[in-house]
Symmetry: C2
Subunit: 223 residues, 2 copies
Protein backbone atom coordinates (compact mmCIF):
# COMPACT_ATOMS: atom_id res chain seq x y z
CA UNK A 1 0.00 0.00 0.00
CA UNK A 2 2.66 2.54 1.01
CA UNK A 3 4.89 1.80 -1.95
CA UNK A 4 1.86 2.08 -4.21
CA UNK A 5 1.07 5.50 -2.73
CA UNK A 6 4.65 6.69 -3.25
CA UNK A 7 4.48 5.65 -6.88
CA UNK A 8 1.23 7.52 -7.34
CA UNK A 9 2.77 10.63 -5.81
CA UNK A 10 5.69 10.30 -8.18
CA UNK A 11 3.29 9.93 -11.10
CA UNK A 12 1.45 13.07 -10.03
CA UNK A 13 4.70 14.97 -9.79
CA UNK A 14 5.76 13.84 -13.27
CA UNK A 15 2.45 14.86 -14.79
CA UNK A 16 2.70 18.27 -13.16
CA UNK A 17 6.21 18.78 -14.55
CA UNK A 18 5.01 17.70 -17.99
CA UNK A 19 2.28 20.33 -17.81
CA UNK A 20 4.76 22.91 -16.54
CA UNK A 21 7.15 22.40 -19.43
CA UNK A 22 4.29 22.50 -21.94
CA UNK A 23 3.07 25.80 -20.51
CA UNK A 24 6.59 27.25 -20.41
CA UNK A 25 6.98 26.33 -24.06
CA UNK A 26 3.63 27.95 -24.92
CA UNK A 27 4.58 31.21 -23.22
CA UNK A 28 7.92 31.29 -24.96
CA UNK A 29 6.42 30.46 -28.39
CA UNK A 30 3.62 33.03 -28.02
CA UNK A 31 6.17 35.81 -27.52
CA UNK A 32 8.53 34.50 -30.19
CA UNK A 33 5.64 34.39 -32.67
CA UNK A 34 5.07 38.10 -32.02
CA UNK A 35 8.73 39.10 -32.27
CA UNK A 36 9.48 36.95 -35.35
CA UNK A 37 6.02 37.65 -36.85
CA UNK A 38 5.42 33.93 -37.28
CA UNK A 39 1.71 33.07 -37.59
CA UNK A 40 2.24 29.30 -37.65
CA UNK A 41 3.99 29.41 -34.31
CA UNK A 42 1.12 31.40 -32.79
CA UNK A 43 -1.39 28.92 -34.19
CA UNK A 44 0.50 26.03 -32.59
CA UNK A 45 0.20 27.75 -29.22
CA UNK A 46 -3.54 28.15 -29.70
CA UNK A 47 -3.82 24.45 -30.58
CA UNK A 48 -1.94 23.40 -27.41
CA UNK A 49 -4.72 24.75 -25.22
CA UNK A 50 -6.72 21.52 -25.36
CA UNK A 51 -3.74 19.50 -24.20
CA UNK A 52 -3.22 21.77 -21.18
CA UNK A 53 -6.91 21.61 -20.32
CA UNK A 54 -6.89 17.82 -20.39
CA UNK A 55 -3.76 17.70 -18.23
CA UNK A 56 -5.33 20.09 -15.74
CA UNK A 57 -8.33 17.81 -15.33
CA UNK A 58 -6.18 14.69 -15.02
CA UNK A 59 -3.97 16.26 -12.36
CA UNK A 60 -6.98 17.52 -10.45
CA UNK A 61 -8.71 14.15 -10.57
CA UNK A 62 -5.57 12.27 -9.53
CA UNK A 63 -4.93 14.65 -6.64
CA UNK A 64 -8.46 14.30 -5.35
CA UNK A 65 -8.28 10.54 -5.69
CA UNK A 66 -5.02 10.44 -3.72
CA UNK A 67 -6.53 12.59 -0.99
CA UNK A 68 -9.65 10.44 -0.84
CA UNK A 69 -8.00 7.02 -0.92
CA UNK A 70 -4.92 7.62 1.20
CA UNK A 71 -5.93 10.51 3.44
CA UNK A 72 -2.29 11.57 3.65
CA UNK A 73 -0.86 13.71 6.42
CA UNK A 74 1.89 16.31 6.83
CA UNK A 75 4.25 16.76 3.92
CA UNK A 76 2.41 14.43 1.50
CA UNK A 77 -0.76 16.36 2.13
CA UNK A 78 1.04 19.66 1.56
CA UNK A 79 2.55 18.28 -1.62
CA UNK A 80 -0.86 17.27 -3.03
CA UNK A 81 -2.66 20.48 -2.10
CA UNK A 82 0.25 22.49 -3.55
CA UNK A 83 0.13 20.42 -6.73
CA UNK A 84 -3.58 21.25 -7.08
CA UNK A 85 -2.92 24.97 -6.69
CA UNK A 86 0.05 24.98 -9.05
CA UNK A 87 -2.01 23.02 -11.56
CA UNK A 88 -4.67 25.74 -11.47
CA UNK A 89 -2.09 28.49 -11.99
CA UNK A 90 -0.44 26.62 -14.86
CA UNK A 91 -3.75 26.18 -16.65
CA UNK A 92 -4.42 29.92 -16.47
CA UNK A 93 -0.91 30.68 -17.68
CA UNK A 94 -1.64 28.42 -20.65
CA UNK A 95 -4.81 30.44 -21.35
CA UNK A 96 -2.83 33.67 -21.17
CA UNK A 97 -0.22 32.32 -23.62
CA UNK A 98 -3.14 31.53 -25.95
CA UNK A 99 -4.43 35.08 -25.50
CA UNK A 100 -0.99 36.46 -26.41
CA UNK A 101 -0.85 34.18 -29.47
CA UNK A 102 -4.29 35.43 -30.58
CA UNK A 103 -3.10 39.06 -30.33
CA UNK A 104 0.03 38.04 -32.20
CA UNK A 105 -1.99 36.58 -35.10
CA UNK A 106 -3.87 39.90 -35.33
CA UNK A 107 -0.74 42.03 -35.09
CA UNK A 108 1.17 40.09 -37.76
CA UNK A 109 -1.54 40.96 -40.30
CA UNK A 110 -0.68 44.65 -39.91
CA UNK A 111 2.57 46.56 -40.36
CA UNK A 112 4.66 46.80 -37.21
CA UNK A 113 3.63 49.77 -35.04
CA UNK A 114 7.03 50.21 -33.38
CA UNK A 115 10.13 48.19 -32.62
CA UNK A 116 9.38 46.03 -29.60
CA UNK A 117 11.72 46.75 -26.68
CA UNK A 118 9.89 46.73 -23.36
CA UNK A 119 7.59 43.81 -24.17
CA UNK A 120 10.47 41.38 -24.95
CA UNK A 121 12.15 42.61 -21.75
CA UNK A 122 8.95 41.98 -19.77
CA UNK A 123 8.66 38.58 -21.42
CA UNK A 124 12.23 37.70 -20.47
CA UNK A 125 11.72 38.49 -16.79
CA UNK A 126 8.33 36.80 -16.75
CA UNK A 127 9.64 33.60 -18.34
CA UNK A 128 12.50 33.52 -15.85
CA UNK A 129 10.01 33.93 -13.01
CA UNK A 130 7.89 31.06 -14.35
CA UNK A 131 10.94 28.85 -14.75
CA UNK A 132 12.34 29.71 -11.30
CA UNK A 133 9.01 29.17 -9.56
CA UNK A 134 8.90 25.64 -10.96
CA UNK A 135 12.56 24.98 -10.19
CA UNK A 136 11.85 26.13 -6.65
CA UNK A 137 9.00 23.63 -6.48
CA UNK A 138 11.12 20.77 -7.83
CA UNK A 139 14.05 21.52 -5.51
CA UNK A 140 11.90 22.57 -2.53
CA UNK A 141 13.89 25.83 -2.62
CA UNK A 142 11.94 28.41 -0.64
CA UNK A 143 14.68 31.05 -1.01
CA UNK A 144 14.40 30.94 -4.81
CA UNK A 145 10.61 31.09 -4.46
CA UNK A 146 10.87 34.23 -2.34
CA UNK A 147 13.15 35.81 -4.96
CA UNK A 148 10.49 35.22 -7.61
CA UNK A 149 7.90 37.04 -5.50
CA UNK A 150 10.20 40.04 -5.15
CA UNK A 151 10.60 40.34 -8.93
CA UNK A 152 6.87 40.79 -9.51
CA UNK A 153 7.11 44.57 -8.99
CA UNK A 154 9.59 44.89 -11.87
CA UNK A 155 7.09 43.37 -14.27
CA UNK A 156 4.31 45.61 -12.95
CA UNK A 157 6.47 48.67 -13.55
CA UNK A 158 7.36 47.61 -17.10
CA UNK A 159 3.67 47.02 -17.77
CA UNK A 160 2.86 50.57 -16.61
CA UNK A 161 5.62 51.92 -18.84
CA UNK A 162 4.40 49.97 -21.90
CA UNK A 163 0.87 51.15 -21.23
CA UNK A 164 1.83 54.83 -21.03
CA UNK A 165 4.02 54.66 -24.12
CA UNK A 166 1.30 52.98 -26.17
CA UNK A 167 -1.25 55.58 -25.08
CA UNK A 168 0.95 58.24 -26.69
CA UNK A 169 1.01 56.21 -29.94
CA UNK A 170 -2.77 56.10 -29.88
CA UNK A 171 -2.99 59.87 -29.42
CA UNK A 172 -0.86 60.36 -32.52
CA UNK A 173 -3.42 58.92 -34.88
CA UNK A 174 -6.41 56.64 -35.17
CA UNK A 175 -4.57 54.26 -37.47
CA UNK A 176 -2.34 53.26 -34.53
CA UNK A 177 -5.18 52.46 -32.17
CA UNK A 178 -6.02 48.81 -32.79
CA UNK A 179 -2.37 47.78 -32.86
CA UNK A 180 -1.60 49.76 -29.70
CA UNK A 181 -4.56 48.16 -27.92
CA UNK A 182 -3.35 44.72 -29.02
CA UNK A 183 0.10 45.42 -27.59
CA UNK A 184 -1.36 46.79 -24.35
CA UNK A 185 -3.23 43.50 -23.99
CA UNK A 186 -0.07 41.46 -24.66
CA UNK A 187 1.70 43.35 -21.88
CA UNK A 188 -1.28 42.89 -19.57
CA UNK A 189 -1.30 39.13 -20.24
CA UNK A 190 2.43 38.93 -19.47
CA UNK A 191 1.87 40.79 -16.23
CA UNK A 192 -0.78 38.27 -15.26
CA UNK A 193 1.52 35.36 -16.12
CA UNK A 194 4.05 36.91 -13.72
CA UNK A 195 1.28 37.11 -11.09
CA UNK A 196 0.65 33.39 -11.48
CA UNK A 197 4.39 32.65 -11.16
CA UNK A 198 4.23 34.65 -7.93
CA UNK A 199 1.26 32.58 -6.76
CA UNK A 200 3.18 29.38 -7.48
CA UNK A 201 6.16 30.69 -5.54
CA UNK A 202 3.96 31.55 -2.59
CA UNK A 203 2.61 28.00 -2.69
CA UNK A 204 6.16 26.63 -2.79
CA UNK A 205 7.07 28.56 0.36
CA UNK A 206 4.00 27.13 2.04
CA UNK A 207 4.79 23.63 0.80
CA UNK A 208 8.41 23.77 1.98
CA UNK A 209 8.15 25.83 5.16
CA UNK A 210 4.48 25.64 6.10
CA UNK A 211 4.41 29.45 6.11
CA UNK A 212 1.89 31.63 4.26
CA UNK A 213 3.51 34.64 2.56
CA UNK A 214 0.54 35.69 0.40
CA UNK A 215 -0.52 39.35 0.52
CA UNK A 216 2.62 40.12 2.58
CA UNK A 217 0.92 38.47 5.52
CA UNK A 218 4.20 37.98 7.42
CA UNK A 219 4.89 41.73 7.59
CA UNK A 220 1.28 42.42 8.51
CA UNK A 221 1.30 39.91 11.38
CA UNK A 222 4.47 41.52 12.73
CA UNK A 223 2.87 44.98 12.82
Amino acid sequence: MERHFDEELKGLNEKLLKMASLVEEMISASIRSLIDRNTGMAEDVIKSDDKVNMLEIEIDEESLKLLALHQPAASDLRFITSAMKINNDLERMGDLAVNIAERSVDLIKQPQLKPLIDIPQMAKITQQMVHDSLTAFINKDSELARQVCRRDDEVDKLNEQVFRELLTYMMEGPKNITRAVDLILVAKHLERIADHATNISEDVVYYVQGTMIKHHIEEKKKQ
Copy 2:
Protein backbone atom coordinates in the same frame (compact mmCIF):
# COMPACT_ATOMS: atom_id res chain seq x y z
CA MET B 1 -14.02 14.31 17.93
CA GLU B 2 -16.69 13.88 15.25
CA ARG B 3 -18.91 16.58 16.67
CA HIS B 4 -15.90 18.87 16.91
CA PHE B 5 -15.08 18.21 13.25
CA ASP B 6 -18.66 19.00 12.20
CA GLU B 7 -18.48 22.29 14.05
CA GLU B 8 -15.23 23.16 12.34
CA LEU B 9 -16.76 22.38 8.94
CA LYS B 10 -19.69 24.63 9.83
CA GLY B 11 -17.26 27.37 10.84
CA LEU B 12 -15.41 27.04 7.54
CA ASN B 13 -18.67 27.25 5.62
CA GLU B 14 -19.72 30.38 7.52
CA LYS B 15 -16.41 32.09 6.88
CA LEU B 16 -16.64 31.28 3.19
CA LEU B 17 -20.16 32.75 3.00
CA LYS B 18 -18.97 35.85 4.84
CA MET B 19 -16.21 36.26 2.25
CA ALA B 20 -18.70 35.64 -0.57
CA SER B 21 -21.07 38.34 0.60
CA LEU B 22 -18.22 40.80 1.08
CA VAL B 23 -16.99 40.14 -2.47
CA GLU B 24 -20.51 40.40 -3.93
CA GLU B 25 -20.91 43.75 -2.19
CA MET B 26 -17.54 44.94 -3.56
CA ILE B 27 -18.49 44.04 -7.13
CA SER B 28 -21.83 45.77 -6.83
CA ALA B 29 -20.32 48.90 -5.22
CA SER B 30 -17.51 49.12 -7.80
CA ILE B 31 -20.06 49.29 -10.63
CA ARG B 32 -22.42 51.59 -8.76
CA SER B 33 -19.51 53.96 -8.07
CA LEU B 34 -18.93 54.17 -11.83
CA ILE B 35 -22.60 54.67 -12.74
CA ASP B 36 -23.33 57.18 -9.95
CA ARG B 37 -19.88 58.80 -10.28
CA ASN B 38 -19.28 58.37 -6.56
CA THR B 39 -15.58 58.44 -5.65
CA GLY B 40 -16.13 57.66 -1.96
CA MET B 41 -17.88 54.43 -2.84
CA ALA B 42 -15.00 53.38 -5.11
CA GLU B 43 -12.49 54.15 -2.38
CA ASP B 44 -14.40 51.98 0.08
CA VAL B 45 -14.10 49.07 -2.38
CA ILE B 46 -10.35 49.61 -2.63
CA LYS B 47 -10.09 49.64 1.17
CA SER B 48 -11.97 46.31 1.45
CA ASP B 49 -9.19 44.48 -0.36
CA ASP B 50 -7.19 43.87 2.84
CA LYS B 51 -10.21 42.30 4.52
CA VAL B 52 -10.72 39.88 1.61
CA ASN B 53 -7.03 38.97 1.59
CA MET B 54 -7.06 38.18 5.30
CA LEU B 55 -10.20 36.06 4.92
CA GLU B 56 -8.62 34.17 2.03
CA ILE B 57 -5.62 33.24 4.16
CA GLU B 58 -7.79 32.26 7.13
CA ILE B 59 -10.00 30.02 4.98
CA ASP B 60 -6.98 28.44 3.32
CA GLU B 61 -5.25 27.78 6.66
CA GLU B 62 -8.40 26.36 8.24
CA SER B 63 -9.05 24.09 5.24
CA LEU B 64 -5.50 22.73 5.29
CA LYS B 65 -5.72 22.21 9.05
CA LEU B 66 -8.97 20.28 8.68
CA LEU B 67 -7.45 18.10 5.97
CA ALA B 68 -4.34 17.46 8.04
CA LEU B 69 -5.99 16.76 11.38
CA HIS B 70 -9.07 14.84 10.31
CA GLN B 71 -8.07 13.32 6.98
CA PRO B 72 -11.70 13.37 5.90
CA ALA B 73 -13.14 11.14 3.19
CA ALA B 74 -15.87 11.36 0.56
CA SER B 75 -18.24 14.31 0.76
CA ASP B 76 -16.41 16.13 3.60
CA LEU B 77 -13.22 15.95 1.57
CA ARG B 78 -15.00 17.26 -1.51
CA PHE B 79 -16.52 20.04 0.56
CA ILE B 80 -13.12 21.17 1.87
CA THR B 81 -11.30 21.00 -1.47
CA SER B 82 -14.20 22.87 -3.11
CA ALA B 83 -14.09 25.49 -0.35
CA MET B 84 -10.37 26.01 -1.08
CA LYS B 85 -11.04 26.50 -4.78
CA ILE B 86 -14.01 28.80 -4.28
CA ASN B 87 -11.93 30.78 -1.79
CA ASN B 88 -9.27 31.31 -4.45
CA ASP B 89 -11.84 32.46 -7.02
CA LEU B 90 -13.49 34.82 -4.54
CA GLU B 91 -10.19 36.46 -3.70
CA ARG B 92 -9.51 37.13 -7.38
CA MET B 93 -13.01 38.50 -7.85
CA GLY B 94 -12.28 40.87 -4.98
CA ASP B 95 -9.10 41.99 -6.77
CA LEU B 96 -11.07 42.57 -9.96
CA ALA B 97 -13.67 44.66 -8.11
CA VAL B 98 -10.76 46.74 -6.78
CA ASN B 99 -9.46 47.12 -10.35
CA ILE B 100 -12.89 48.33 -11.50
CA ALA B 101 -13.03 50.77 -8.59
CA GLU B 102 -9.59 52.14 -9.53
CA ARG B 103 -10.77 52.73 -13.13
CA SER B 104 -13.89 54.33 -11.72
CA VAL B 105 -11.87 56.81 -9.62
CA ASP B 106 -9.98 57.78 -12.80
CA LEU B 107 -13.09 58.06 -14.93
CA ILE B 108 -15.01 60.20 -12.44
CA LYS B 109 -12.30 62.87 -12.69
CA GLN B 110 -13.14 63.34 -16.39
CA PRO B 111 -16.40 64.21 -18.14
CA GLN B 112 -18.52 61.21 -19.09
CA LEU B 113 -17.48 59.79 -22.49
CA LYS B 114 -20.86 58.27 -23.28
CA PRO B 115 -23.98 57.08 -21.49
CA LEU B 116 -23.24 53.64 -20.09
CA ILE B 117 -25.58 50.98 -21.47
CA ASP B 118 -23.75 47.72 -22.20
CA ILE B 119 -21.46 47.85 -19.16
CA PRO B 120 -24.32 48.06 -16.65
CA GLN B 121 -26.03 45.24 -18.58
CA MET B 122 -22.83 43.14 -18.40
CA ALA B 123 -22.54 43.96 -14.71
CA LYS B 124 -26.13 42.87 -14.08
CA ILE B 125 -25.62 39.45 -15.69
CA THR B 126 -22.23 39.01 -14.04
CA GLN B 127 -23.54 39.84 -10.57
CA GLN B 128 -26.42 37.41 -11.06
CA MET B 129 -23.92 34.72 -12.11
CA VAL B 130 -21.82 35.35 -9.01
CA HIS B 131 -24.87 35.24 -6.77
CA ASP B 132 -26.27 32.10 -8.39
CA SER B 133 -22.94 30.27 -8.25
CA LEU B 134 -22.84 30.82 -4.50
CA THR B 135 -26.51 29.93 -4.04
CA ALA B 136 -25.80 26.74 -5.98
CA PHE B 137 -22.95 26.00 -3.55
CA ILE B 138 -25.09 26.67 -0.46
CA ASN B 139 -28.03 24.60 -1.74
CA LYS B 140 -25.89 21.93 -3.43
CA ASP B 141 -27.86 22.76 -6.59
CA SER B 142 -25.90 21.41 -9.55
CA GLU B 143 -28.64 22.39 -12.03
CA LEU B 144 -28.35 26.06 -11.07
CA ALA B 145 -24.57 25.74 -11.29
CA ARG B 146 -24.81 24.40 -14.83
CA GLN B 147 -27.09 27.31 -15.78
CA VAL B 148 -24.42 29.76 -14.60
CA CYS B 149 -21.83 28.10 -16.86
CA ARG B 150 -24.13 28.46 -19.85
CA ARG B 151 -24.53 32.22 -19.27
CA ASP B 152 -20.79 32.87 -19.56
CA ASP B 153 -21.05 33.25 -23.36
CA GLU B 154 -23.51 36.13 -23.02
CA VAL B 155 -21.00 38.10 -21.00
CA ASP B 156 -18.22 37.31 -23.47
CA LYS B 157 -20.38 38.62 -26.31
CA LEU B 158 -21.25 41.83 -24.47
CA ASN B 159 -17.56 42.33 -23.75
CA GLU B 160 -16.75 42.01 -27.46
CA GLN B 161 -19.50 44.51 -28.27
CA VAL B 162 -18.27 47.03 -25.68
CA PHE B 163 -14.74 46.63 -26.98
CA ARG B 164 -15.70 47.29 -30.62
CA GLU B 165 -17.88 50.27 -29.74
CA LEU B 166 -15.15 51.87 -27.63
CA LEU B 167 -12.60 51.40 -30.41
CA THR B 168 -14.80 53.59 -32.62
CA TYR B 169 -14.86 56.28 -29.91
CA MET B 170 -11.06 56.18 -29.82
CA MET B 171 -10.85 56.60 -33.58
CA GLU B 172 -12.98 59.74 -33.36
CA GLY B 173 -10.40 61.70 -31.40
CA PRO B 174 -7.41 61.43 -29.11
CA LYS B 175 -9.26 63.14 -26.27
CA ASN B 176 -11.49 60.06 -25.97
CA ILE B 177 -8.66 57.56 -25.74
CA THR B 178 -7.82 57.34 -22.05
CA ARG B 179 -11.48 57.18 -21.05
CA ALA B 180 -12.25 54.56 -23.68
CA VAL B 181 -9.29 52.43 -22.53
CA ASP B 182 -10.51 52.73 -18.93
CA LEU B 183 -13.97 51.53 -19.96
CA ILE B 184 -12.51 48.66 -22.01
CA LEU B 185 -10.65 47.55 -18.90
CA VAL B 186 -13.80 47.76 -16.76
CA ALA B 187 -15.59 45.48 -19.24
CA LYS B 188 -12.63 43.12 -19.31
CA HIS B 189 -12.59 42.92 -15.49
CA LEU B 190 -16.32 42.14 -15.48
CA GLU B 191 -15.78 39.40 -18.03
CA ARG B 192 -13.12 37.86 -15.81
CA ILE B 193 -15.43 38.05 -12.78
CA ALA B 194 -17.96 36.07 -14.83
CA ASP B 195 -15.20 33.55 -15.63
CA HIS B 196 -14.57 33.08 -11.90
CA ALA B 197 -18.31 32.60 -11.28
CA THR B 198 -18.17 29.91 -13.95
CA ASN B 199 -15.20 28.29 -12.20
CA ILE B 200 -17.12 28.27 -8.91
CA SER B 201 -20.11 26.69 -10.65
CA GLU B 202 -17.90 24.00 -12.15
CA ASP B 203 -16.56 23.28 -8.67
CA VAL B 204 -20.11 23.08 -7.32
CA VAL B 205 -21.03 20.46 -9.93
CA TYR B 206 -17.96 18.48 -8.90
CA TYR B 207 -18.76 18.90 -5.20
CA VAL B 208 -22.38 17.79 -5.62
CA GLN B 209 -22.13 15.17 -8.35
CA GLY B 210 -18.46 14.20 -8.37
CA THR B 211 -18.40 15.07 -12.09
CA MET B 212 -15.85 17.36 -13.76
CA ILE B 213 -17.46 19.69 -16.32
CA LYS B 214 -14.48 22.02 -16.85
CA HIS B 215 -13.42 22.72 -20.43
CA HIS B 216 -16.58 20.89 -21.66
CA ILE B 217 -14.88 17.65 -20.70
CA GLU B 218 -18.17 15.70 -20.65
CA GLU B 219 -18.84 16.35 -24.34
CA LYS B 220 -15.22 15.59 -25.21
CA LYS B 221 -15.25 12.26 -23.38
CA LYS B 222 -18.43 11.27 -25.27
CA GLN B 223 -16.80 11.95 -28.63
